[in-house]
Symmetry: none
Subunit: 238 residues, 2 copies
């Protein structure tokens, strides 16, 4: 279950409008994005979305393609009526219908369902960074001599580049954005794995093991196990 996140207290990074008709997904996203530091409002269908966007002027819209009333793309079109800029991150099913995504506007992006929270947050940040030259959002995370560049999708330890599989990368990214904070295996599952993942926490142990082999095989060790609690990524001493 999702627990602590950064971003509390600071003024919101941006205002988001989340549009999805499934209450579970809508709530999952809203809560999680709020805890990530965004201001979030939500709508459950296309018309409500258009009306709300009119009033609250969000910085970005997270938009399910499958809506009961309007097609997601139709919603996007209306949002941008009058030439107004309105970046959109689409949520789309993984089946064949992705073809329709080719209709993306510039600056838009999409995430396939089922997604992981890490993925969604990453896409949102990337789009925001692009559309408003928001350099404040660092695309580069660093802990000791471990560096992860999000934009370049590049990781290196002690100056040596490291090849990571997608899951390994997401896991490391999650660790690094929570450096110094203990994260439980349940939290990791919630953020790094897709929300419909049914398996148990053993898989987290496996991937931590892979990660250690690839990026934590030199001193100082950065990934620490806290038995019965979780993991921390941190430089020693502090």
């Amino acid at each position: 279950m999702a627990e602590q996140e950064p971003g509390a207290g600071r003024s919101p990074e941006a205002r988001l409008l989340v549009v999805d008709d499934e209450p579970n997904i809508r709530e999952l996203l809203s809560a999680s994005l709020r805890y990530s530091g965004f201001e979030v409002i939500a709508a459950s269908d296309g018309h409500e979305a258009v009306a709300l966007a009119e009033r609250v002027r969000p910085d970005l819209v997270v938009l399910d393609v499958m809506l009961p009333d309007l097609d997601g793309f139709a919603v996007a079109k209306r949002l941008r009526a009058g030439g107004r800029r309105m970046p959109v991150v689409f949520l789309t099913a993984r089946d064949g219908t992705d073809d329709k995504v080719h209709g993306l506007g510039v600056g838009d992006d999409y995430v396939t369902k089922p997604f992981s929270l890490e993925e969604v947050v990453a896409r949102i940040r990337a789009v925001l960074r692009r559309t408003r030259g928001d350099l404040e959002l660092p695309s580069r995370l660093q802990v000791a001599d471990l560096v992860l560049d999000e934009e370049a999708h590049h990781v290196e330890r002690a100056g040596q580049p490291v090849r990571l599989s997608p899951t390994e990368f997401k896991l490391l990214h999650y660790f690094m954005s929570n450096a110094g904070r203990v994260v439980s295996k349940a939290q990791i599952l919630d953020h790094v794995w897709n929300y419909d993942f049914g398996g148990d926490a053993g898989v987290v142990e496996s991937y931590v093991s892979y990660l250690r082999r690839k990026i934590d095989n030199v001193e100082p060790r950065l990934i620490h196990t806290l038995r019965g609690v979780g993991y921390v990524l941190r430089a020693p001493r502090h």
Copy 2:
């Protein structure tokens, strides 16, 4: 059994609804949470819970998953009918069914039965902190040169990091949140150990011993024994 606690006299931190069909657990929780400074009302089944919540509008619900009438998740759903926000801390059995908890309602949290009171209070506070931007009840406790950082799950004495087992950590945390106040061995058993723990108070002595060895082996001594009464954690008076 639980005795005195902080929070008496001050205005309640929040209003809680406790839902459990076992009278023992219900009373244990209600009493303990009251002494922790919460306003508490209780219900023994799902329908009563929904009806009560309707009337008294609690800030948070502590909800057993196994109820005689409604499933705990069903109750949660009804509590949130109409899109109302209602944070929930679930109480769930430790058997394999934990999987069901994963993936439902973000912003919620859960505690496995049998729990310790420390655990429950901690989860409740964490959820409240999140859901109402109740910023930064400091996650850092300090007494003299002894520091416990909850978020990082890190302890140090005189600048030196110390490794503690989970139980040692919980015990120290209990001491530190009650710094300057005498706690009896019975209180410690009630708060730090699971409520179904059958053993005797000897185990507390053991763990106090371990703690002393790890974090109280330098001057000034912080953990003091009051024979026949209990223990206090406090910096020496000057």
